[in-house]
Protein backbone atom coordinates (compact mmCIF):
# COMPACT_ATOMS: atom_id res chain seq x y z
CA UNK A 1 0.00 0.00 0.00
CA UNK A 2 2.69 2.43 0.98
CA UNK A 3 4.43 1.76 -2.34
CA UNK A 4 1.34 2.33 -4.36
CA UNK A 5 0.38 5.54 -2.50
CA UNK A 6 3.75 6.87 -1.20
CA UNK A 7 2.54 10.30 -0.02
CA UNK A 8 -0.50 9.33 1.97
CA UNK A 9 -0.85 9.92 5.68
CA UNK A 10 -3.48 7.29 6.56
CA UNK A 11 -4.49 9.01 9.80
CA UNK A 12 -5.19 12.22 7.89
CA UNK A 13 -7.22 10.28 5.36
CA UNK A 14 -9.41 8.77 8.07
CA UNK A 15 -10.02 12.24 9.52
CA UNK A 16 -10.88 13.62 6.06
CA UNK A 17 -13.28 10.74 5.37
CA UNK A 18 -14.92 11.31 8.75
CA UNK A 19 -15.32 15.02 7.96
CA UNK A 20 -16.91 14.27 4.60
CA UNK A 21 -19.36 11.85 6.21
CA UNK A 22 -20.12 14.32 8.99
CA UNK A 23 -20.76 17.20 6.56
CA UNK A 24 -22.89 15.01 4.31
CA UNK A 25 -25.03 13.54 7.06
CA UNK A 26 -25.46 16.76 9.07
CA UNK A 27 -26.28 18.76 5.93
CA UNK A 28 -28.60 15.97 4.78
CA UNK A 29 -30.58 16.22 8.00
CA UNK A 30 -30.91 19.99 7.59
CA UNK A 31 -31.80 19.51 3.93
CA UNK A 32 -34.45 16.96 4.78
CA UNK A 33 -36.16 19.26 7.27
CA UNK A 34 -35.89 22.45 5.22
CA UNK A 35 -36.64 20.67 1.94
CA UNK A 36 -39.80 18.98 3.23
CA UNK A 37 -41.01 22.30 4.65
CA UNK A 38 -40.30 24.11 1.36
CA UNK A 39 -41.84 21.34 -0.74
CA UNK A 40 -44.95 21.19 1.45
CA UNK A 41 -45.36 24.97 1.42
CA UNK A 42 -45.12 25.15 -2.35
CA UNK A 43 -47.47 22.21 -2.77
CA UNK A 44 -50.07 23.26 -0.21
CA UNK A 45 -50.15 26.93 -1.24
CA UNK A 46 -50.55 26.23 -4.95
CA UNK A 47 -53.82 27.26 -6.62
CA UNK A 48 -56.43 24.71 -5.60
CA UNK A 49 -54.19 23.40 -2.80
CA UNK A 50 -55.21 22.68 0.78
CA UNK A 51 -53.75 26.00 1.96
CA UNK A 52 -54.12 27.96 -1.24
CA UNK A 53 -52.21 31.23 -0.79
CA UNK A 54 -50.82 33.26 -3.65
CA UNK A 55 -48.18 35.07 -1.61
CA UNK A 56 -46.79 32.08 0.24
CA UNK A 57 -46.63 30.25 -3.07
CA UNK A 58 -44.86 33.12 -4.79
CA UNK A 59 -42.31 33.62 -2.01
CA UNK A 60 -41.44 29.94 -1.50
CA UNK A 61 -41.27 29.26 -5.21
CA UNK A 62 -39.04 32.32 -5.72
CA UNK A 63 -36.77 31.26 -2.84
CA UNK A 64 -36.36 27.80 -4.30
CA UNK A 65 -35.78 29.03 -7.83
CA UNK A 66 -33.23 31.66 -6.84
CA UNK A 67 -31.16 29.38 -4.65
CA UNK A 68 -31.23 26.63 -7.23
CA UNK A 69 -30.02 29.05 -9.87
CA UNK A 70 -26.96 30.25 -7.93
CA UNK A 71 -23.92 28.04 -8.57
CA UNK A 72 -22.80 26.40 -5.35
CA UNK A 73 -19.30 27.89 -5.28
CA UNK A 74 -20.79 31.39 -5.58
CA UNK A 75 -23.38 30.59 -2.93
CA UNK A 76 -20.52 29.83 -0.51
CA UNK A 77 -19.03 33.28 -1.08
CA UNK A 78 -22.45 34.94 -0.93
CA UNK A 79 -23.31 33.66 2.50
CA UNK A 80 -19.78 34.01 3.87
CA UNK A 81 -20.79 36.94 6.14
CA UNK A 82 -23.60 34.88 7.66
CA UNK A 83 -21.28 31.92 8.21
CA UNK A 84 -18.69 34.11 9.94
CA UNK A 85 -21.40 35.77 12.02
CA UNK A 86 -22.67 32.34 13.13
CA UNK A 87 -19.41 30.47 13.69
CA UNK A 88 -16.72 33.19 13.83
CA UNK A 89 -14.92 31.47 10.96
CA UNK A 90 -15.66 30.09 7.52
CA UNK A 91 -13.19 27.21 7.86
CA UNK A 92 -13.97 23.70 9.01
CA UNK A 93 -16.78 21.22 8.37
CA UNK A 94 -19.37 22.79 10.68
CA UNK A 95 -18.97 26.24 9.13
CA UNK A 96 -19.69 24.66 5.75
CA UNK A 97 -23.11 23.40 6.84
CA UNK A 98 -25.22 26.55 6.17
CA UNK A 99 -23.94 26.74 2.62
CA UNK A 100 -24.43 23.02 2.07
CA UNK A 101 -28.00 23.12 3.40
CA UNK A 102 -28.92 26.26 1.48
CA UNK A 103 -27.41 24.76 -1.64
CA UNK A 104 -29.27 21.46 -1.49
CA UNK A 105 -32.55 22.14 0.38
CA UNK A 106 -34.17 24.07 -2.50
CA UNK A 107 -33.21 21.22 -4.83
CA UNK A 108 -34.72 18.69 -2.46
CA UNK A 109 -37.73 20.97 -1.92
CA UNK A 110 -38.51 20.70 -5.64
CA UNK A 111 -38.21 16.92 -5.48
CA UNK A 112 -40.57 16.91 -2.48
CA UNK A 113 -43.06 19.04 -4.39
CA UNK A 114 -42.90 16.66 -7.36
CA UNK A 115 -43.35 13.67 -5.05
CA UNK A 116 -46.40 15.27 -3.41
CA UNK A 117 -47.93 16.07 -6.78
CA UNK A 118 -47.72 12.38 -7.61
CA UNK A 119 -50.04 11.53 -4.72
CA UNK A 120 -53.42 10.55 -6.19
CA UNK A 121 -55.90 13.38 -5.80
CA UNK A 122 -58.64 10.80 -5.27
CA UNK A 123 -56.96 9.58 -2.09
CA UNK A 124 -56.80 13.11 -0.69
CA UNK A 125 -60.44 13.54 -1.57
CA UNK A 126 -61.31 10.26 0.15
CA UNK A 127 -59.55 11.51 3.30
CA UNK A 128 -61.51 14.77 3.11
CA UNK A 129 -64.73 12.81 2.69
CA UNK A 130 -63.84 10.88 5.86
CA UNK A 131 -63.58 14.16 7.74
CA UNK A 132 -59.78 14.24 8.12
CA UNK A 133 -58.08 17.36 9.44
CA UNK A 134 -55.56 19.02 7.14
CA UNK A 135 -52.80 17.94 9.54
CA UNK A 136 -53.91 14.31 9.20
CA UNK A 137 -53.98 14.65 5.43
CA UNK A 138 -50.43 16.05 5.43
CA UNK A 139 -48.87 13.47 7.72
CA UNK A 140 -50.93 10.34 7.13
CA UNK A 141 -51.75 10.76 3.46
CA UNK A 142 -49.41 13.14 1.64
CA UNK A 143 -46.09 12.38 3.34
CA UNK A 144 -46.85 8.72 3.95
CA UNK A 145 -48.06 7.97 0.43
CA UNK A 146 -45.14 9.80 -1.16
CA UNK A 147 -42.52 8.31 1.18
CA UNK A 148 -40.77 6.12 -1.41
CA UNK A 149 -40.38 9.12 -3.71
CA UNK A 150 -39.20 11.25 -0.78
CA UNK A 151 -36.54 8.67 0.07
CA UNK A 152 -35.31 8.21 -3.48
CA UNK A 153 -35.23 12.00 -3.85
CA UNK A 154 -33.21 12.21 -0.65
CA UNK A 155 -30.77 9.68 -2.07
CA UNK A 156 -30.24 11.80 -5.18
CA UNK A 157 -29.82 14.87 -2.98
CA UNK A 158 -27.33 13.10 -0.71
CA UNK A 159 -25.15 12.25 -3.66
CA UNK A 160 -25.26 15.83 -4.92
CA UNK A 161 -24.34 16.87 -1.37
CA UNK A 162 -21.26 14.67 -1.35
CA UNK A 163 -20.18 16.57 -4.45
CA UNK A 164 -20.89 19.89 -2.71
CA UNK A 165 -18.75 18.91 0.30
CA UNK A 166 -15.82 18.41 -2.05
CA UNK A 167 -16.40 21.86 -3.57
CA UNK A 168 -16.63 23.35 -0.08
CA UNK A 169 -13.30 21.65 0.59
CA UNK A 170 -11.67 24.02 -1.87
CA UNK A 171 -12.24 26.90 0.56
CA UNK A 172 -11.11 24.92 3.57
CA UNK A 173 -14.16 23.09 4.79
CA UNK A 174 -12.13 19.95 5.42
CA UNK A 175 -13.08 16.50 4.18
CA UNK A 176 -11.87 14.48 1.22
CA UNK A 177 -12.21 17.33 -1.29
CA UNK A 178 -10.08 19.59 0.86
CA UNK A 179 -7.51 16.82 1.36
CA UNK A 180 -7.36 16.01 -2.33
CA UNK A 181 -6.97 19.66 -3.29
CA UNK A 182 -4.42 20.95 -0.74
CA UNK A 183 -2.39 17.84 -0.05
CA UNK A 184 -2.78 16.22 -3.45
CA UNK A 185 -3.35 18.62 -6.29
CA UNK A 186 -1.39 21.67 -5.07
CA UNK A 187 1.68 19.50 -4.23
CA UNK A 188 1.30 17.40 -7.38
CA UNK A 189 0.97 14.28 -5.20
CA UNK A 190 -1.53 12.68 -7.53
CA UNK A 191 -1.81 9.45 -5.51
CA UNK A 192 -3.68 11.47 -2.86
CA UNK A 193 -6.12 12.73 -5.50
CA UNK A 194 -6.70 9.16 -6.68
CA UNK A 195 -7.34 7.69 -3.24
CA UNK A 196 -9.72 10.53 -2.36
CA UNK A 197 -11.59 9.95 -5.61
CA UNK A 198 -11.90 6.25 -4.86
CA UNK A 199 -13.21 6.95 -1.36
CA UNK A 200 -15.78 9.47 -2.59
CA UNK A 201 -17.03 7.05 -5.22
CA UNK A 202 -17.32 4.33 -2.59
CA UNK A 203 -19.30 6.65 -0.29
CA UNK A 204 -21.62 7.56 -3.17
CA UNK A 205 -22.21 3.89 -3.95
CA UNK A 206 -22.99 3.13 -0.32
CA UNK A 207 -25.52 5.98 -0.12
CA UNK A 208 -27.13 4.86 -3.36
CA UNK A 209 -27.36 1.25 -2.19
CA UNK A 210 -28.93 2.22 1.15
CA UNK A 211 -31.37 4.58 -0.56
CA UNK A 212 -32.42 1.96 -3.09
CA UNK A 213 -32.87 -0.71 -0.42
CA UNK A 214 -35.02 1.53 1.76
CA UNK A 215 -37.13 2.67 -1.20
CA UNK A 216 -37.71 -0.90 -2.27
CA UNK A 217 -38.73 -1.90 1.23
CA UNK A 218 -41.35 0.82 1.70
CA UNK A 219 -42.73 0.92 -1.83
CA UNK A 220 -45.96 -1.11 -1.75
CA UNK A 221 -47.35 0.14 -5.04
Amino acid sequence: MTNLFPNIDWADLVVATGETLYMTLAALLGTLILGVILGLLIYLSQPGGLWENKWVHLVTAAFVNIFRAVPFIILIFLILPITIFLFGTFRGPTAALPALILGSAPFYGRLVEIALKEVDGGVIEAAKAMGAKTRTIIFKVLLRESLPALVSGLTVTAIALIGYTAVAGAIGAGGLGDYAYYYGFTRRDMDIVYICTILIVVIVFIFQAIGDAVTRKIDKR
Binding site: V123, A129, A132, K140, R144
Partner: protein, 341 residues
Protein backbone atom coordinates in the same frame (compact mmCIF):
# COMPACT_ATOMS: atom_id res chain seq x y z
CA UNK B 1 -84.61 11.54 4.88
CA UNK B 2 -82.39 13.57 2.62
CA UNK B 3 -83.82 16.75 1.19
CA UNK B 4 -82.12 18.56 -1.64
CA UNK B 5 -83.58 21.90 -2.49
CA UNK B 6 -82.77 24.12 -5.46
CA UNK B 7 -79.17 22.94 -5.44
CA UNK B 8 -76.89 24.54 -8.03
CA UNK B 9 -73.24 24.42 -8.90
CA UNK B 10 -71.75 26.81 -11.40
CA UNK B 11 -68.12 26.37 -12.40
CA UNK B 12 -66.60 29.68 -13.37
CA UNK B 13 -63.69 29.66 -15.77
CA UNK B 14 -61.85 32.71 -17.06
CA UNK B 15 -64.04 33.11 -20.11
CA UNK B 16 -67.26 31.28 -19.37
CA UNK B 17 -69.61 29.77 -16.80
CA UNK B 18 -70.64 26.14 -16.71
CA UNK B 19 -73.82 25.13 -14.92
CA UNK B 20 -73.00 21.59 -13.81
CA UNK B 21 -75.95 21.20 -11.45
CA UNK B 22 -78.99 23.32 -12.16
CA UNK B 23 -81.52 24.08 -9.38
CA UNK B 24 -81.93 20.44 -8.53
CA UNK B 25 -84.55 19.40 -5.98
CA UNK B 26 -85.02 15.89 -4.69
CA UNK B 27 -85.99 13.99 -1.61
CA UNK B 28 -84.69 10.58 -0.67
CA UNK B 29 -86.35 8.38 1.94
CA UNK B 30 -84.42 6.89 4.81
CA UNK B 31 -83.26 3.36 4.10
CA UNK B 32 -83.77 3.38 0.36
CA UNK B 33 -81.33 2.79 -2.45
CA UNK B 34 -81.67 5.78 -4.69
CA UNK B 35 -80.08 5.73 -8.13
CA UNK B 36 -79.09 8.69 -10.27
CA UNK B 37 -78.40 7.85 -13.88
CA UNK B 38 -77.19 10.05 -16.68
CA UNK B 39 -74.73 10.26 -19.51
CA UNK B 40 -71.16 11.49 -19.10
CA UNK B 41 -71.10 15.18 -18.28
CA UNK B 42 -74.68 15.24 -16.98
CA UNK B 43 -73.36 16.47 -13.63
CA UNK B 44 -73.82 13.29 -11.60
CA UNK B 45 -70.44 13.36 -9.87
CA UNK B 46 -70.77 17.05 -9.17
CA UNK B 47 -74.20 16.40 -7.67
CA UNK B 48 -73.07 13.64 -5.32
CA UNK B 49 -70.02 15.68 -4.26
CA UNK B 50 -72.32 18.56 -3.38
CA UNK B 51 -74.11 16.36 -0.87
CA UNK B 52 -71.07 16.11 1.42
CA UNK B 53 -69.74 19.43 0.15
CA UNK B 54 -66.57 18.08 -1.42
CA UNK B 55 -67.82 20.62 -3.92
CA UNK B 56 -69.25 23.82 -2.42
CA UNK B 57 -72.73 24.56 -3.76
CA UNK B 58 -73.21 27.86 -5.57
CA UNK B 59 -76.70 27.97 -4.09
CA UNK B 60 -79.35 25.72 -2.59
CA UNK B 61 -79.74 23.50 0.45
CA UNK B 62 -78.84 19.95 1.44
CA UNK B 63 -80.50 18.49 4.51
CA UNK B 64 -79.76 15.07 6.00
CA UNK B 65 -82.14 13.83 8.69
CA UNK B 66 -83.13 17.33 9.62
CA UNK B 67 -79.56 18.63 9.75
CA UNK B 68 -78.75 21.39 7.31
CA UNK B 69 -75.45 20.30 5.74
CA UNK B 70 -75.17 23.48 3.71
CA UNK B 71 -75.40 25.50 6.93
CA UNK B 72 -72.55 23.77 8.77
CA UNK B 73 -69.29 25.54 9.59
CA UNK B 74 -66.07 24.10 8.13
CA UNK B 75 -65.28 22.27 11.34
CA UNK B 76 -68.79 20.99 11.97
CA UNK B 77 -68.89 19.76 8.38
CA UNK B 78 -65.62 17.91 8.88
CA UNK B 79 -67.02 16.09 11.90
CA UNK B 80 -70.32 15.42 10.12
CA UNK B 81 -68.47 13.83 7.19
CA UNK B 82 -67.21 11.13 9.53
CA UNK B 83 -70.79 9.89 9.45
CA UNK B 84 -71.34 10.06 5.72
CA UNK B 85 -69.68 7.17 3.91
CA UNK B 86 -68.43 7.52 0.37
CA UNK B 87 -67.08 5.04 -2.16
CA UNK B 88 -65.38 5.84 -5.42
CA UNK B 89 -65.02 4.49 -8.93
CA UNK B 90 -61.25 4.13 -8.55
CA UNK B 91 -61.47 2.99 -4.92
CA UNK B 92 -59.01 5.65 -3.68
CA UNK B 93 -57.28 3.40 -1.18
CA UNK B 94 -54.00 4.32 0.49
CA UNK B 95 -51.56 1.98 -1.16
CA UNK B 96 -49.04 2.37 1.66
CA UNK B 97 -51.52 0.79 4.06
CA UNK B 98 -52.72 -2.78 4.35
CA UNK B 99 -56.39 -3.75 4.05
CA UNK B 100 -56.82 -3.52 7.83
CA UNK B 101 -54.97 -0.22 8.04
CA UNK B 102 -57.06 1.24 5.23
CA UNK B 103 -60.25 0.27 7.01
CA UNK B 104 -58.83 1.64 10.26
CA UNK B 105 -58.08 5.05 8.73
CA UNK B 106 -61.54 6.65 9.16
CA UNK B 107 -61.61 5.27 12.73
CA UNK B 108 -58.25 6.90 13.46
CA UNK B 109 -59.64 10.13 12.05
CA UNK B 110 -62.66 9.87 14.34
CA UNK B 111 -60.36 9.32 17.32
CA UNK B 112 -61.48 5.79 18.16
CA UNK B 113 -59.31 3.89 20.66
CA UNK B 114 -56.80 1.27 19.49
CA UNK B 115 -58.63 -1.74 20.92
CA UNK B 116 -61.93 -0.49 19.56
CA UNK B 117 -60.38 -0.03 16.10
CA UNK B 118 -59.01 -3.54 16.10
CA UNK B 119 -62.40 -5.01 16.97
CA UNK B 120 -64.33 -2.90 14.48
CA UNK B 121 -61.87 -3.58 11.64
CA UNK B 122 -62.29 -7.33 12.12
CA UNK B 123 -66.09 -6.97 12.02
CA UNK B 124 -65.88 -4.98 8.82
CA UNK B 125 -63.41 -7.37 7.19
CA UNK B 126 -65.88 -10.18 7.87
CA UNK B 127 -68.85 -8.13 6.71
CA UNK B 128 -67.37 -7.46 3.28
CA UNK B 129 -65.92 -10.95 2.93
CA UNK B 130 -62.21 -10.18 3.02
CA UNK B 131 -61.12 -12.52 5.81
CA UNK B 132 -57.56 -13.68 5.24
CA UNK B 133 -56.66 -10.54 3.28
CA UNK B 134 -56.14 -8.29 6.33
CA UNK B 135 -52.40 -7.83 5.81
CA UNK B 136 -52.46 -7.57 2.01
CA UNK B 137 -51.67 -4.28 0.33
CA UNK B 138 -54.10 -2.80 -2.22
CA UNK B 139 -51.65 -3.59 -5.03
CA UNK B 140 -52.12 -7.26 -4.20
CA UNK B 141 -55.92 -7.13 -4.54
CA UNK B 142 -58.31 -7.47 -7.48
CA UNK B 143 -60.62 -4.59 -8.38
CA UNK B 144 -63.56 -6.21 -6.65
CA UNK B 145 -61.55 -6.79 -3.49
CA UNK B 146 -60.35 -3.19 -3.56
CA UNK B 147 -63.94 -1.98 -3.75
CA UNK B 148 -64.80 -4.22 -0.80
CA UNK B 149 -62.08 -2.47 1.18
CA UNK B 150 -63.56 0.83 0.01
CA UNK B 151 -67.00 -0.23 1.24
CA UNK B 152 -65.67 -1.47 4.58
CA UNK B 153 -63.80 1.80 5.02
CA UNK B 154 -66.92 3.82 4.19
CA UNK B 155 -68.95 1.88 6.75
CA UNK B 156 -66.33 2.05 9.52
CA UNK B 157 -67.90 4.90 11.49
CA UNK B 158 -71.43 3.46 11.14
CA UNK B 159 -72.76 6.12 8.77
CA UNK B 160 -76.45 6.55 8.05
CA UNK B 161 -75.80 7.52 4.44
CA UNK B 162 -73.55 5.98 1.81
CA UNK B 163 -72.64 7.92 -1.32
CA UNK B 164 -71.46 5.82 -4.28
CA UNK B 165 -69.93 7.50 -7.32
CA UNK B 166 -69.76 4.93 -10.14
CA UNK B 167 -68.80 2.30 -7.59
CA UNK B 168 -68.87 -0.54 -10.10
CA UNK B 169 -67.84 1.18 -13.32
CA UNK B 170 -64.26 -0.07 -13.14
CA UNK B 171 -65.28 -3.68 -12.54
CA UNK B 172 -66.19 -6.58 -14.81
CA UNK B 173 -69.85 -7.73 -14.95
CA UNK B 174 -69.50 -10.59 -12.48
CA UNK B 175 -67.58 -8.56 -9.94
CA UNK B 176 -70.11 -5.78 -10.43
CA UNK B 177 -72.89 -8.18 -9.49
CA UNK B 178 -71.10 -9.31 -6.34
CA UNK B 179 -70.46 -5.72 -5.24
CA UNK B 180 -74.10 -4.80 -5.97
CA UNK B 181 -75.24 -7.80 -3.94
CA UNK B 182 -73.05 -6.59 -1.09
CA UNK B 183 -74.61 -3.13 -1.29
CA UNK B 184 -78.14 -4.59 -1.16
CA UNK B 185 -77.04 -6.71 1.77
CA UNK B 186 -75.71 -3.81 3.84
CA UNK B 187 -78.73 -1.72 2.87
CA UNK B 188 -80.99 -4.38 4.39
CA UNK B 189 -78.75 -5.30 7.32
CA UNK B 190 -77.88 -1.81 8.44
CA UNK B 191 -80.86 0.16 7.15
CA UNK B 192 -78.42 2.38 5.35
CA UNK B 193 -79.60 5.01 2.86
CA UNK B 194 -77.59 4.58 -0.33
CA UNK B 195 -77.28 7.18 -3.06
CA UNK B 196 -75.75 5.69 -6.12
CA UNK B 197 -74.52 7.37 -9.27
CA UNK B 198 -74.12 5.39 -12.47
CA UNK B 199 -74.35 5.46 -16.22
CA UNK B 200 -75.37 1.80 -16.39
CA UNK B 201 -79.09 1.06 -16.28
CA UNK B 202 -78.63 -2.55 -15.19
CA UNK B 203 -77.12 -1.28 -11.93
CA UNK B 204 -80.30 0.71 -11.33
CA UNK B 205 -82.47 -2.23 -12.36
CA UNK B 206 -80.75 -4.66 -10.01
CA UNK B 207 -80.55 -2.74 -6.77
CA UNK B 208 -82.35 0.61 -6.72
CA UNK B 209 -85.80 1.33 -5.35
CA UNK B 210 -86.12 4.75 -6.90
CA UNK B 211 -84.30 6.41 -9.73
CA UNK B 212 -83.73 9.89 -11.08
CA UNK B 213 -82.56 10.50 -14.63
CA UNK B 214 -80.19 13.40 -14.97
CA UNK B 215 -79.45 15.46 -18.05
CA UNK B 216 -77.55 18.74 -18.28
CA UNK B 217 -77.56 19.27 -14.52
CA UNK B 218 -81.28 18.69 -14.09
CA UNK B 219 -83.46 15.77 -13.16
CA UNK B 220 -85.67 15.11 -16.16
CA UNK B 221 -87.52 12.08 -14.88
CA UNK B 222 -87.95 10.42 -11.54
CA UNK B 223 -89.89 7.65 -9.88
CA UNK B 224 -89.85 4.07 -8.70
CA UNK B 225 -87.61 1.86 -10.80
CA UNK B 226 -90.57 -0.16 -12.07
CA UNK B 227 -92.53 2.92 -13.10
CA UNK B 228 -89.61 4.40 -14.93
CA UNK B 229 -88.89 1.06 -16.61
CA UNK B 230 -92.46 0.40 -17.65
CA UNK B 231 -93.38 3.94 -18.68
CA UNK B 232 -90.24 5.88 -19.63
CA UNK B 233 -91.30 9.32 -20.81
CA UNK B 234 -88.21 11.20 -21.89
CA UNK B 235 -85.96 10.09 -24.73
CA UNK B 236 -82.90 9.75 -22.48
CA UNK B 237 -84.84 7.49 -20.18
CA UNK B 238 -86.08 5.36 -23.06
CA UNK B 239 -82.51 4.92 -24.24
CA UNK B 240 -81.39 3.86 -20.79
CA UNK B 241 -84.25 1.38 -20.53
CA UNK B 242 -83.24 -0.05 -23.91
CA UNK B 243 -79.77 -0.71 -22.44
CA UNK B 244 -81.41 -3.37 -20.31
CA UNK B 245 -84.59 -4.40 -22.09
CA UNK B 246 -83.44 -4.20 -25.68
CA UNK B 247 -85.17 -2.23 -28.42
CA UNK B 248 -88.96 -2.36 -28.52
CA UNK B 249 -89.18 -4.49 -31.66
CA UNK B 250 -92.41 -6.06 -30.46
CA UNK B 251 -94.39 -5.33 -33.61
CA UNK B 252 -92.01 -7.32 -35.75
CA UNK B 253 -91.86 -10.15 -33.26
CA UNK B 254 -95.65 -10.40 -33.03
CA UNK B 255 -95.96 -10.67 -36.78
CA UNK B 256 -93.50 -13.53 -36.87
CA UNK B 257 -95.40 -15.41 -34.15
CA UNK B 258 -98.60 -15.14 -36.11
CA UNK B 259 -96.82 -16.57 -39.11
CA UNK B 260 -95.15 -19.46 -37.31
CA UNK B 261 -97.65 -20.47 -34.66
CA UNK B 262 -100.03 -22.93 -36.26
CA UNK B 263 -102.45 -23.66 -33.46
CA UNK B 264 -103.67 -22.26 -30.16
CA UNK B 265 -103.39 -18.71 -28.88
CA UNK B 266 -100.45 -16.39 -28.67
CA UNK B 267 -100.54 -14.45 -25.41
CA UNK B 268 -98.40 -11.56 -24.27
CA UNK B 269 -97.94 -11.59 -20.51
CA UNK B 270 -96.83 -8.28 -19.08
CA UNK B 271 -95.10 -8.58 -15.72
CA UNK B 272 -94.92 -5.57 -13.46
CA UNK B 273 -93.99 -5.93 -9.80
CA UNK B 274 -94.63 -9.63 -10.10
CA UNK B 275 -92.82 -11.95 -7.75
CA UNK B 276 -94.21 -15.30 -8.84
CA UNK B 277 -93.75 -15.42 -12.61
CA UNK B 278 -91.80 -18.63 -12.66
CA UNK B 279 -94.35 -20.48 -10.61
CA UNK B 280 -97.20 -18.95 -12.60
CA UNK B 281 -96.50 -20.73 -15.87
CA UNK B 282 -96.12 -24.17 -14.36
CA UNK B 283 -99.13 -23.53 -12.14
CA UNK B 284 -101.31 -22.75 -15.12
CA UNK B 285 -100.09 -25.82 -16.97
CA UNK B 286 -100.86 -28.00 -13.96
CA UNK B 287 -104.21 -26.48 -13.02
CA UNK B 288 -105.72 -26.39 -16.51
CA UNK B 289 -105.62 -28.88 -19.33
CA UNK B 290 -103.54 -26.62 -21.59
CA UNK B 291 -100.08 -26.77 -23.11
CA UNK B 292 -97.98 -23.66 -22.57
CA UNK B 293 -94.96 -23.00 -24.77
CA UNK B 294 -92.71 -20.06 -24.10
CA UNK B 295 -91.97 -18.29 -27.39
CA UNK B 296 -89.92 -15.33 -26.30
CA UNK B 297 -89.41 -13.37 -23.15
CA UNK B 298 -87.45 -10.61 -21.55
CA UNK B 299 -87.89 -10.35 -17.83
CA UNK B 300 -85.62 -8.45 -15.47
CA UNK B 301 -85.60 -8.66 -11.73
CA UNK B 302 -85.69 -5.43 -9.77
CA UNK B 303 -85.82 -4.77 -6.04
CA UNK B 304 -89.62 -4.53 -6.26
CA UNK B 305 -90.16 -7.69 -8.28
CA UNK B 306 -89.90 -8.78 -11.89
CA UNK B 307 -90.53 -6.55 -14.84
CA UNK B 308 -90.86 -7.46 -18.51
CA UNK B 309 -92.95 -9.40 -20.97
CA UNK B 310 -93.30 -12.99 -21.98
CA UNK B 311 -94.87 -14.38 -25.17
CA UNK B 312 -96.45 -17.80 -24.81
CA UNK B 313 -98.39 -20.13 -27.01
CA UNK B 314 -101.36 -21.77 -25.30
CA UNK B 315 -103.04 -24.80 -26.81
CA UNK B 316 -106.20 -26.51 -25.48
CA UNK B 317 -109.99 -26.49 -25.43
CA UNK B 318 -111.32 -22.98 -26.00
CA UNK B 319 -113.19 -22.97 -22.64
CA UNK B 320 -110.19 -24.19 -20.70
CA UNK B 321 -107.94 -21.60 -22.33
CA UNK B 322 -110.35 -18.84 -21.38
CA UNK B 323 -110.38 -20.10 -17.80
CA UNK B 324 -106.60 -20.14 -17.76
CA UNK B 325 -106.46 -16.57 -19.05
CA UNK B 326 -108.91 -15.45 -16.39
CA UNK B 327 -106.81 -17.17 -13.78
CA UNK B 328 -103.69 -15.32 -14.90
CA UNK B 329 -105.56 -12.03 -14.97
CA UNK B 330 -106.33 -12.43 -11.28
CA UNK B 331 -102.64 -12.00 -10.56
CA UNK B 332 -100.92 -8.71 -11.28
CA UNK B 333 -99.84 -10.02 -14.68
CA UNK B 334 -101.57 -8.34 -17.61
CA UNK B 335 -102.63 -10.61 -20.43
CA UNK B 336 -103.00 -9.56 -24.03
CA UNK B 337 -104.36 -12.06 -26.51
CA UNK B 338 -102.57 -11.50 -29.77
CA UNK B 339 -104.00 -14.24 -32.00
CA UNK B 340 -106.28 -17.17 -31.77
CA UNK B 341 -107.34 -19.73 -34.28
Amino acid sequence: MIVIDQLSKIFKTASSELVAVDQLSLSIEKGEIFGVIGYSGAGKSTFIRLINRLEEPTSGRVEIEGELITGLSKNALRVKRQNIGMIFQHFNLLWSRTVSENIAFPLEIAGVSKEEIEKRVQELVDLVGLSGKETSYPSQLSGGQKQRVGIARALANRPKVLLCDEATSALDPETTDSILALLVDINKQLGLTIILITHEMHVIQKICHNVAVMEAGRIVEQGSVLDVFSHPKKNVTKKFVEQVMGKPDDEVAEDSFIATVAEGHVLKLQFIKENTNQALISEVAKKFKVDVNILQGNIKRTQEGAYGSLYVQMVGEEVTVQEAIQYIEQTSVEVEVITHD
